[in-house]
Symmetry: C2
Subunit: 142 residues, 2 copies
């Protein structure tokens, strides 16, 4: 018996978040699901060629990020990266400073760092999220 590929019901995912399931967004989700690591908007634009205008792509990503379906990842470049967050464990990234290669890593936290951070602040009422990215050199670049 063949194990069925895990498939996410994209239209439902969108509608549950209060967004419309348009062809462009569905294709975008399918595309993002294939990417193991965060990708640039330019990369997505190329892959979507003809099927989604650049501006609409930006707006779609913004809308998806707001409801938590994707997340905008901040490497130390001058453009944003996006990755799917649904159906994936929380993780961090290592970025190669010379070639830009990205690897996902699981960092086992004995305690959630945002809890400690909240204790350490005087001026904040709430901490919603944090970003933890590592920078170094990959084996191919040393």
């Amino acid at each position: 018996m063949k194990k069925p590929a895990v498939s996410i019901d994209h239209p439902k995912l969108l509608r549950d978040a209060g967004l419309r399931a348009t062809p462009g967004r569905l294709k975008l989700l399918t595309l993002l699901q294939k990417e193991p690591t965060p990708v640039t908007v330019t990369y997505l634009e190329r892959k979507m060629r003809g099927e989604l205008n650049q501006v609409t792509l930006y707006r779609a990503l913004e809308a998806l990020a707001k409801v938590g379906i994707v997340s905008r990842v901040n490497f130390e470049h001058d453009h944003a990266h996006y990755e799917l967050t649904v159906d994936r464990p929380h993780h961090h990234h290592v970025v190669c400073r010379s070639c830009g290669h990205v690897e996902d890593i699981e960092v086992p936290h004995s305690s959630a760092p945002e809890k400690d951070a909240l204790k350490g602040t005087k001026e904040f009422a709430r901490i919603d999220s944090y970003s933890l990215e590592f920078f170094g050199a990959c084996r191919a670049c040393v």
Copy 2:
């Protein structure tokens, strides 16, 4: 007996790093030393008005960052922030998503996270640095 203000020898700091001590850079360092949290380039530009061209400011910050005197901090905005790194303990930031307010925090790490990260990666030979920033809401904005 008056406690003397801690003063850093800026010309020496620059020359030891192989950079020239120009009036613009000295004023920039004095300015940065007064800022408790990272500031934008635009802010610095206003403060330096007339004394350092915008392009030169960008180049100065780049040069200072390369030798580790300042560091470029990556909040989730579309522009960079810079802070002085010399003479200051390693720390992280909490950023308010609604007003942009920033607070420094000390996060006590029992173990350095970059060590764990290196263990967790298969493709990387070296991890040089990491960034850890927290996002939430400050008391004034809740």
